[in-house]
Amino acid sequence: MARRWEVGHMSEERAPEAITRFDRPRPRGSVTTEVLDDEALLHVEGRRALHVLNPTASLIWQNLDGEVSLDELAGLLSEASGASFDTVLSDVLEVVRSLGASGLLHGVITAEPVEEQENQQAVSGAAEVTGDDLRFLPEPPHG
């Protein structure tokens, strides 16, 4: 199912790999975020997967507010860290495209409906876990 990606006054659909430095992404409304220490835990309502973001990915995620472009975000992070702008921008784009591919960003087209993505690859620096069933219980005894 196609989703809409909003850039300024424009609205268009985007695949994760089509995200550019001028886009202003924001999280899907169904994503819950919890930050522990420097890491972030993301969960999409109704899904089993839990995403764990490393400190870098967590910092980027927390700044995706739909207002700041990735270009501006890279500038801020470059200034704060002392790393080169090009390096930071490259990292930001990689992380954000990965977040988009994981169905965590508003308006990004995903390969399959988000609700069905139970086994996708984890986003950058992340591990994915699942739960919510009786699989832990042993099988019924057999003779």
């Binding site: 835990l41 969960h43 876990v129």
Partner: protein, 312 residues
Amino acid sequence: MTDDLLVALRQRGFRHVSPTYRALGYAFAFQCQDPEVGEYLGSLFELFQSSGQPQATYAFGAIEDAGRSNYLLYCDDRMLDNHRRPSVPFATLLWHINRSVVRTSQDRMLLHASAVARGEVSLLFPAAMESGKTTLAAGLVRAGFDYVTDETVAINMASGSVEPFPRALSVDPGSWGVLSDLRPQVSPEIEPYLDRQWQIPPLSIRPGCVADVTRPRFVITPSYVAGGTTELTPIGRAEGVSVLAEHSFNFSRHGRAGLRLLADLARGAACYRLQVGDLVQACRIITELVDASARGKPELQDGSALGGGAHV
């Protein structure tokens, strides 16, 4: 519709009719043909004795078929098992009760984990099957900790507290050697029912050892490595949440509240991985960890591993 076997079973009568038991959200009772089996089952569930109407009533007994006993297990009118060996339907009964407890307690956050406690502080051991959860809990209770559960940790969604589910500890044959002193003492008549697992009533390990409601302060995910070293290694709190969610029966059911609950739990806890090669040493390391925490010393948060006789 009641089947003929159930009619035959009922016609033989039940000489033991239990009271109602309630384990978390599941209220049940059982009727046994053999009063000794009924008494034994009652000893396994004595901590759950309750009142009110059960949601389900089990019927357990034997009928004669072609000159041999056939052991039958029903849950209300539904046959759960039918076998020549009594240990099979007996194991099915315990399995079904455990599964029903999980299914009827979904208002809590349920973790596939064992847990023990000291005072008001609990230690959670989330892990996959065959990771040594029950063995570790049994060893720690033997070493002086209070017992919470060996299989399912239930966390109250409002308070974040752990509700005890102190079922009898189900110990597989692989751990009988290291827990040999806890071998259940049962009569020869009951032995044929127990050829698959030991069922250790917690109070037989130590009188008064069952925990009350506790606050989780340690998340320790164990793994048993035969012949391996015994080592405790700190992990980040986010990874701790990840481990808890991974071993939850109903994480996504609770949505935002579920993630918030586990994150809050981790914020107030220290998180570790524990490789267990030797049960006694693992129990000693955990005891020292909890003792050090109680004295206000750092809980091994410096990234170092603890093991091989080292001290906190």
